[in-house]
């Protein structure tokens, strides 16, 4: 994951997003190397405590910096970010590792058979590939608590469904393009549903309500119906102790 100085590094672009935000764009593709540069600048900016900083929103290929224009200015923010960028190259932070027990197929994963058919794989092989890969959270978005995870094995890559579902249940584990995600709330959605996890990615009764953040790592662990039901019952009874299997590593 560590980039070396020998790799080409196109200069990032500073783009305007009004007078209360700017975008630092590192590239225009879904590429972990680009995302790592985004994450590293975000980490550095958060650590530096920029005056007037409101939020830092990393995406796959850019960092949006929200700031309070009554406290600071575009010029001050940009200058500070350019300084930080010159200094970042240090050890990237390795995010928390989460393991999500997942019940694949059946009513929980109504698209598993279809994905198998379209990829020419057996349903068992689809599960094996999806659960056998470790993912990184490249960005949060679309709804509170939803992480865009990747990169999935190339054998599983499919475009989004041509007919998006009106209602996708919370906890649905889904794939589209080269990414995977867990729907944190019930919503419409066009991704292919492989299974479901009982882990609540957004829960107002928990502090903080959102479980994941960009930079975290995720694995899906196939479980049977009994294990799924047991964890779901525990979660619904208000058990908020679900924890990552590895803490963040800032060493």
């Amino acid at each position: 994951m560590t980039e070396t100085n020998s790799e080409p590094r196109p200069a990032p672009r500073f783009l305007s997003a009004g007078d209360a935000a700017l975008v630092v764009e590192f590239g225009n593709a879904v590429d972990p190397a680009i995302n790592h540069r985004v994450m590293r600048l975000g980490e550095a900016a958060r650590a530096a405590g920029l005056p007037g900083l409101v939020d830092l929103v990393p995406t796959l290929r850019s960092l949006m910096v929200h700031y309070d224009p009554t406290v600071t200015s575009r010029r001050a923010v940009e200058e500070r970010l350019r300084d930080l960028m010159a200094d970042t190259g240090g050890t990237p932070v390795v995010g928390r590792l989460w393991e999500f027990p997942t019940l694949y197929g059946g009513e929980m994963g109504p698209d598993l058979e279809d994905v198998a058919k379209r990829t020419g794989l057996s349903p068992e092989r689809v599960v094996e590939l999806h659960a056998g890969t470790g993912y990184e959270a490249f960005m949060m978005g679309f709804m509170p608590g939803l992480a865009y995870l990747g990169i999935i094995p190339p054998e599983l890559e499919l475009p989004r469904r041509s007919e998006p579902r009106v209602r996708v249940p919370a906890g649905s584990v889904a794939i589209a393009t080269n990414l995977t995600n867990v729907y944190s709330l019930e919503s419409p959605g066009g991704w292919h549903l492989l299974g479901r996890t009982p882990v609540a990615l957004f829960d107002l009764h928990r502090d903080p309500p959102v479980l994941l953040q960009a930079g975290d790592r995720v694995r899906f662990v196939p479980v049977g119906r009994d294990a799924y039901d047991e964890l779901r019952d525990r979660m619904e009874a208000g058990d908020t102790a679900f924890a990552p299997v590895e803490a963040e590593d800032r060493a």
Partner: protein, 340 residues
């Protein structure tokens, strides 16, 4: 339980404060008042800190009953009055604080002159904040009362059981509501996704707010914009006021409840000084856009801040709407009867 009873909700009012713009990195939309200027003035009139949650009204206001000792309220953002119901209906003007005692019913009628108005209550609401804010974001059931718009019969718990003893204030300067020059826009982040002709037409033409307008955004009717290099981008961050243009070329201005990231190119962003004006627009209203640089946008925001400070400093004494019941109660409690 005591507080403010929503006898009849009107058009889906929500609680809003400054929102939660600091947790967009978790995918949580900022939410917050569509018109932060009116929010600030309403709170100042009742003596609240600027970011206290208030009731955001759209289209049609509620009927409310006071189910606590007394409350001090202020309606800001509309010329519609506060109708105080009783044997004899009395109208108290908007843009001033009003003291109302237990059992009083009041009503805000139809809002025909604005997209949003605010009803502030001294002391604010005794509800649990989410990420530091009471702002309601209904799509994820966050904030406010159970994460939803207010409904008939709701009881809003208050932080104060009695309004304090102070003079009522009036905001005489309403000029801030009538700003109607072009809405200023900084180009970017994806202005390079549009043809030069399209961008020129955007700034040369009149647009109208369509009926597809809510707290998330407003779709505009006017010249269709042509994309120069497709209408899909790899998702990036969204700022409030962003002018997003999907494949059909019809611009959508994104407001407080916008998603935190999105995959449509954004031609420009309405400057922060003009975002409050967007909230005041209603379907059918016309607007024009003017291109400015970031430095001009920053200067415009400074001007706005100074203007609001001045408006608040110049609050004067209010017209005498006297709630005789409340005065009588207070005199009994304090034992002081002022000469009439």
């Amino acid at each position: 339980m005591s507080g403010l009873r929503i006898v009849s909700a009107g058009f889906a009012p929500t609680l809003q404060d400054h929102g939660r713009p600091h947790v967009q990195h978790l995918g949580v939309p900022p939410a917050g008042a569509l018109d932060p200027v009116a929010l600030r003035i309403a709170n100042a009139l009742v003596g609240n800190p600027a970011d206290t949650a208030v009731i955001e009204l759209r289209v049609m206001g509620p009927t409310v009953e006071v189910e606590t000792g007394s409350v001090r309220v202020a309606l800001v953002g509309t010329d519609a009055p506060v109708e105080i119901l009783g044997d004899r209906k009395v109208e108290a003007p908007s843009h001033q604080s009003i003291l109302l005692s237990r059992g009083r019913r009041f009503r805000v009628g139809s809002l025909s002159d604005t997209g949003v108005a605010y009803l502030a209550v001294q002391g604010g609401f005794d509800l649990e904040p989410v990420y530091g804010s009471l702002s309601t974001y209904t799509r994820a059931k966050i904030g406010g009362l159970d994460g939803r718009a207010l409904r008939d019969g709701d009881l809003l718990p208050l932080n104060r059981g009695e309004a304090d003893d102070r003079a009522e204030l009036r905001c005489a300067d309403r000029s801030w509501r009538r700003d109607n020059g072009p809405v200023r826009v900084v180009l970017g982040p994806q202005d390079d996704y549009f043809t030069a002709d399209s961008t020129a037409a955007f700034f040369a033409s009149e647009y109208r707010v369509t009926r597809e307008a809510d707290r998330m955004g407003m779709r505009l009717d006017g010249p269709v914009l042509a994309h120069a290099k497709g209408h899909d981008i790899v998702s990036d961050g969204i700022a409030t006021g962003a002018i997003q243009v999907p494949g059909n070329g019809r611009p959508i201005v994104l407001l407080a409840d916008h998603q935190t990231t999105g995959g449509y190119p954004k031609l420009g962003t309405v400057v922060s000084a003009d975002v409050p004006r967007l909230g005041r627009l209603r379907p059918g209203d016309a607007l024009r856009f003017a291109r400015v640089e970031v430095e001009e946008a920053e200067a415009a925001r400074r001007v706005l801040e100074e203007r609001i400070d001045r408006i608040v400093e110049r609050f004067g004494p209010a017209e005498p709407w006297l709630d005789e019941d409340a005065l009588y109660r207070r005199n009994l409690v304090s034992g002081i009867v002022e000469p009439g």
